[in-house]
């Protein structure tokens, strides 16, 4: 039997901080407040598997990722990543994992991307030939040729994120951690990144552990979803099953010059909204999005249409409601 890429047993992280009382009393005394960011989680990730960890803000997703990548020591429990204990073998593990924080750059903002990549070759002790080959492949696949000589600080968010992911893959990691990789990107950039991460991982047998607020990241990249809330795992199941139960919804917002637009179709619910705005919740298992749009257009007077996934908070809420 193959050893899992990640094994986590009763992993816990408790933060504690001093909270001062208001006014003069606060000068003299403070109480220690503890917060269980991760409250004893157990899971395994097989080699080559692509897994998403989702949950609302403060659920413990990023804390889990930080502990598994070795930059945060747990309060209790154990974890093995590629056979190593991450927080005890941080630097040895660094050669074998790639990490992308969507909200933090790992590149040198003032340097052209190419210079950052060259520096990373030395940082990861890569032989020049294999490094150049890998950079060439990633440059072609990600369409980076035109921006390689541009300082990272002057790139658009989408360009920067493509460079971040390239940087995380240049040393050929076996495991990729992605923390909100598509946050703030436009639809095209998100699609490019999702396709790339999925295809690259599939082609190279790479394990992926991803956190995101965007349900499309999860649906399009990952085979399995772990839902966490308040530091605990509430659901751990294949994405297909989760999609059938919870992700079959879209939210369509219609802007109109006149009164609210009525769409009378099975699986379509009208949400309360403001004047000139109609918000429809669509159950895509009962009705297709294009049918709803067609019906709305037939009603006339539409000025603008937006189609969105329901916010992650709502999906999570549905999941909690279903699992009790």
């Amino acid at each position: 039997m193959t050893t899992p890429a990640i094994t986590v047993r009763q992993l816990r992280k408790t933060y504690s901080y001093g909270r001062r009382a208001p006014g003069w009393r606060g000068i003299l005394s403070s109480e220690t407040v503890t917060l269980d960011a991760v409250a004893g989680v157990d899971f395994e990730v097989a080699r080559g598997e692509r897994v998403a960890i989702i949950g609302p803000n403060g659920a413990g997703k990023s804390t889990t990722l930080k502990m598994l990548s070795g930059v945060l020591e747990p309060t209790g429990g154990s974890a093995e990543v590629l056979g190593l204990t991450p927080w005890r073998a941080r630097q040895a593990l660094a050669y074998r994992i790639g990490v992308v924080f969507g909200q933090r750059s790992q590149l040198w903002a003032e340097l052209p991307a190419r210079d950052s990549f060259r520096l990373l070759r030395r940082v990861y002790d890569q032989e020049a030939a294999s490094f150049e080959r890998r950079l060439g492949e990633l440059t072609e696949r990600f369409g980076l040729a035109e921006i390689l000589n541009q300082p990272v600080g002057r790139m658009s968010l989408g360009q920067r994120m493509r460079c971040e992911i390239t940087a995380s893959l240049l040393h050929g990691p076996e495991l990729l951690f992605l923390d909100e990789p598509t946050i703030g990107l436009d639809v095209t950039a998100k699609a490019a990144i999702r396709d790339f991460v999925r295809d690259h991982a599939r082609d190279h047998g790479q394990t992926v552990l991803l956190t995101s607020h965007d349900t499309r990241d999860i649906e399009l990249v990952c085979e399995r979803v772990i839902v966490v809330n308040r530091g605990r795992i509430v659901v751990d199941q294949p994405t297909d099953q989760l999609r059938k139960r919870f992700l079959g919804r879209k939210v369509i917002t219609l802007q109109s010059a006149g009164a609210a637009i009525a769409v009378d179709l099975p699986g379509v619910t009208t949400r309360p909204s403001q004047a000139h705005t109609t918000i429809l919740e669509v159950d895509t298992r009962q009705v297709r999005v294009e049918q709803v749009i067609a019906a709305a257009l037939a009603a006339g007077g539409i000025e603008d249409v937006t189609i969105e996934d329901p916010p992650m908070e709502e999906v999570i809420h549905d999941i909690y409601a279903a699992v009790g």
Partner: protein
């Protein structure tokens, strides 16, 4: 895209050599960045020329009017000041970079790499300092030529170059100590100010420490602040191989001690970040 087997290349070189190679790459990045920002570098040289015109006029007046009283000032103080300012203006703001990255929670991406962040940050800063030393050095030599002052002998210029390079390293390590305090302090400015003031007094930026009373001179000469500035400057007013050897010994000693102090602070701060996450 073709399929590439994912494997970490076997690395035979010892870890220290690999770290040195990475530091070399970071140093080249620092050189490249600073050279690329040549308008900023030009402005720095212009500023150096401006303050040297003012300070040399002041010290010439001091010498001419005997304002320093009975103190015998050997050599040309303007050249001494030129050397100390050459070093001072070459120092990159490593402490501010450290403070920004530590306080801004930007360390994590660096900690996910197999090479020590502090070593790479120092090397990158030193690369920047090398370019500034070169540009300001050329500016200083041009000023010396234009002013018609007597230049130090060639051997002293060689000593100044070596002591200047090591002086920059001492100064960067001193300021790095202030920057690393960001792990515990809200702002590192107070630490930076203390170092700056001591640099001014004990480092000989105010006046050569050879002019100080005996006990203060001895204390200053033994300080890391003199290792940063004074020993290189001293070659401009009283060049000698013996002074060079003395200064070199103090500089090497302080570089070792300050490096150990920085590493101790870094490890303590890192342990805090790994335990608590962020600052």
């Amino acid at each position: 895209m073709t399929s590439t087997p994912l494997s970490v290349e076997a690395v035979r070189a010892p870890s220290f050599a690999r770290t040195l190679a990475a530091m070399g790459a970071a140093l080249r990045v620092g050189v490249g960045q600073t050279a690329a920002a040549w308008p900023v570098l030009g402005g720095r040289c212009l500023f150096y020329a401006l303050i040297m015109v003012v300070l040399s006029a002041l010290w010439d007046r001091v010498a001419a009017e005997r304002v320093a009283g009975a103190i015998a000032v050997p050599g040309d103080l303007a050249v001494y000041v030129g050397v100390t300012e050459w070093i001072t203006l070459s120092i990159p703001a490593l402490h501010l970079k450290l403070e920004d990255e530590i306080r801004g929670g930007l360390l994590e991406p660096h900690l996910l790499r197999p090479k020590p962040y502090f070593a790479l940050a120092f090397a990158q800063g030193f690369g920047a300092a090398l370019v500034r030393l070169a540009a300001l050095g050329v500016t200083g030599l041009v000023l010396l030529e234009v002013s018609g002052r007597a230049a130090p002998p060639p051997s002293a210029l060689g000593f100044i170059l070596v002591l200047g390079l090591l002086g920059v390293a001492c100064g960067m390590l001193l300021y790095a100590l202030a920057g690393l305090m960001a792990f515990w302090a809200r702002r590192t400015l107070p630490f930076q100010l203390v170092i700056q003031k001591l640099m001014f007094l004990m480092g000989g930026l105010f006046a050569p420490v050879s002019l100080y009373p005996g006990w203060l001179r001895q204390a200053s000469e033994a300080s890391p602040f003199a290792a940063h500035l004074y020993w290189a400057g001293a070659q401009a007013i009283a060049p000698s191989a013996a002074m060079f050897a003395r200064g070199l010994a103090w500089q090497v000693a302080w570089i070792v001690l300050l490096t150990l102090a920085c590493l101790a602070l870094w490890r303590a701060g890192l342990a805090k970040v790994l335990r608590r996450g962020g600052v």
